[in-house]
């Protein structure tokens, strides 16, 4: 029925206004729905694919399955009541929300967190980054059929969640970074247990490298596929490892350092061919950088000192009118909070800028053209999108 033409650049043809000329009644195209429950296990996001034979001709992202109206809810809660709700915006890596919100409130209220709190905050953020990368590696391998990597990395992630539980009291939603500092210091013997966990992670990562990155099938399915042109990085707002794998060095920890990063010594990881294999490789090397950063933080951290500054009565805390933007580098890219206050006890507007907002909607719709159906799931995971932060 469909004659295969080797040169796919002009297929399908375009109409006068630039959109694709797809006639659904002709029987040549089929609409498939890769719904909220799908093999690209990034979360509840669906892609509506128009397929001709085996390859995708057009894709549309549908988000909104996880929309809870956070920004509206935060307008109804006082500043201190917002902070338990803020960590639920990004489910697998919640600490960045707490840090960005706390830093924004501190800046507008004119209070400074003490030095030791900055070190503990940086430690938590790096531990959360490793957790997120572990989840990513499991998902990327699992979407191509290599399920054992997910088992190993989820186990190692559990060990790190044990460390979080010792430190903050909860596995997933920590609620540890408050405006003004952190809630508590490190427990006794924490550093030695953390070092054991880091060594276990390093052992697992070397196994993952052997099994996943030296695997002929993985290489064949990911090298050369999912190419992001470096010219698309700035217009589409791509940040994080997606941009670094294309050669554009964008790392907020180096460009606009926050917390204690000026005192730490590391190099951002870059790659050059921006296909799926390079993105996975950049993230793998980033795990090693994070482990090194954690070791530096634990070595250089002051052992004594105050943990929280004295806050005014938080139930009646009024912050003067102002607006600010705080950003951080999470494992997926640039994470930011835009906070506007108006002098009352409630925030006027909180806008969360998640990195997946720009990756999963506009960029995915551009990249998905002329991709084979079986690679769609792998492409979604390779951009490392977490849908909760797209629609908050």
């Amino acid at each position: 029925m469909v004659i295969y033409q080797p040169d796919r650049s002009k297929y399908p043809s375009h109409k006068a206004d630039g959109s694709l000329d797809i006639d659904l009644t002709s029987g040549k195209y089929l609409k498939l729905w890769q719904g909220p429950n799908h093999p690209g296990i990034t979360g509840n996001m669906s892609v509506e694919l128009t397929v001709c034979g085996d390859e995708v001709v057009e894709g549309k992202t549908h988000v909104g399955y996880l929309h809870r109206g956070f920004e509206k809810l935060m307008e109804r809660r006082t500043f201190i009541q917002c902070f338990p709700i803020v960590c639920r915006i990004c489910v697998p890596e919640p600490d960045f929300n707490e840090y960005c919100y706390a830093a924004a409130v501190e800046e507008l209220a004119g209070i400074e967190a003490p030095e030791r709190a900055h070190w503990i905050r940086a430690l938590i953020l790096e531990m959360g980054r490793i957790n997120s990368y572990m989840m990513y590696l499991g998902g990327q391998a699992g979407s191509l059929g290599l399920g054992v990597i997910g088992q190993w990395t989820t186990y190692v992630r559990d060990l790190m969640l044990d460390r979080f539980e010792e430190l903050t009291g909860a596995r997933i939603y920590h609620m540890f970074i408050l405006p003004g500092g952190v809630r508590d210091g490190l427990p006794d013997g924490f550093e030695s247990r953390l070092e054991e966990t880091l060594q276990e992670i390093e052992r697992t990562m070397s196994d993952v490298f052997d099994v996943m990155f030296c695997n002929a099938v993985f290489k064949k399915r990911t090298i050369g596929i999912g190419y992001i042109d470096p010219a698309l990085i700035e217009p589409y707002g791509v940040t994080g490892p997606n941009a670094r794998a294309a050669g554009v060095v964008k790392d907020v920890r180096k460009d606009q350092p926050y917390l204690v990063y000026p005192q730490l010594d590391f190099e951002p990881v870059i790659g050059h061919d921006s296909d799926m294999y390079t993105r996975a490789d950049v993230r793998r090397r980033d795990v090693a950088v994070s482990i090194d950063l954690i070791r530096q933080i634990v070595a250089k951290m002051p052992k004594t000192g105050p943990l929280m500054t004295k806050l005014p009565n938080v139930l009646h805390w009024k912050i003067p009118r102002g607006e600010t933007y705080i950003r951080g580098e999470c494992s997926r890219g640039e994470y930011g909070y835009y906070l506007v206050t108006d002098g009352s006890g409630f925030p006027r507007r909180v806008n969360v800028r998640g990195p997946s907002y720009t990756h999963a909607v506009a960029l995915l719709e551009k990249l998905i053209v002329n991709v084979n159906i079986s690679d769609v799931a792998a492409l979604m995971v390779s951009l490392h999108t977490y849908p909760p932060e797209i629609e908050r």
Binding site: V63, G64, H67, G69, E71, K72, L73, E75, R76, E107, E234, P235, Y236, G237, K250, D255, Q256, L315, G322, E323, T324, Y325, R327, E334, G336, Y338, V340, R348, R349, N351, R353, Y357, T358, V361, A362, E391
Partner: protein, 177 residues
């Protein structure tokens, strides 16, 4: 550094007030007619190539929406937020998706959540986050989310909310003084 930038820009375009928040963050107000020229100048000449976010703040007391375009310059390590004030009634604003293609996504969300129309933006009238929504755009200040949720969803009986101020008042002054 922000003030020199502001002085240079003020020489070319008529700008409103400047608010310097930090060394590397400033907010500049501008009228909507000059927005496109200013954005193109910032992107092409001044090196602010990264559009960080495009969002709206509802100042219902003044009857305006404030649209904030936050731009970032990676080489000079600074951010500039450009504020544009538009009316709250029958709002429509020029679309910037040809300057930055990613602005199309932000404009879709603003149309759905605030009701600000961006004619010409690709897919701006397609439902984006909400499905089957028949009420006013939810992020506007006149939309009461608690009232909406109580009317439309059945709640489980027996929930008590303890407002800390009321609770302490009852504890300290039990006879209601």
């Amino acid at each position: 550094m922000m003030r020199t930038l502001y002085a240079e820009l003020n020489a070319r375009f008529p700008l409103g007030e400047l608010t310097v928040q930090r060394d590397d963050l400033a907010f500049i107000t501008v009228e909507r007619e000059h927005l496109r020229a200013l954005l193109l100048h910032m992107r092409d000449r001044e090196g602010f190539t990264h559009l960080v976010l495009l969002t709206a703040v509802d100042w219902i007391e003044d009857g305006i929406f404030q649209l904030t375009y936050l731009l970032s310059n990676r080489d000079k390590r600074c951010d500039v937020g450009i504020r544009v004030m538009v009316t709250r009634v029958d709002t429509s604003m020029e679309s910037m998706h040809d300057v930055w293609p990613t602005a199309a996504t932000y404009q879709r969300e603003l149309y759905e959540m605030f009701g600000i129309d961006f004619p010409g933006s690709p897919g701006v009238h397609d439902p984006f986050i909400l499905e089957g929504w028949a009420d006013i755009p939810p992020y506007r200040r006149e939309f009461d989310t608690k009232k909406f949720s109580e009317e439309n969803f059945t709640h489980r009986a027996g929930r008590e909310t303890n407002d800390p101020a009321q609770y302490m008042k009852k504890q300290l002054y039990p006879d209601g003084a």
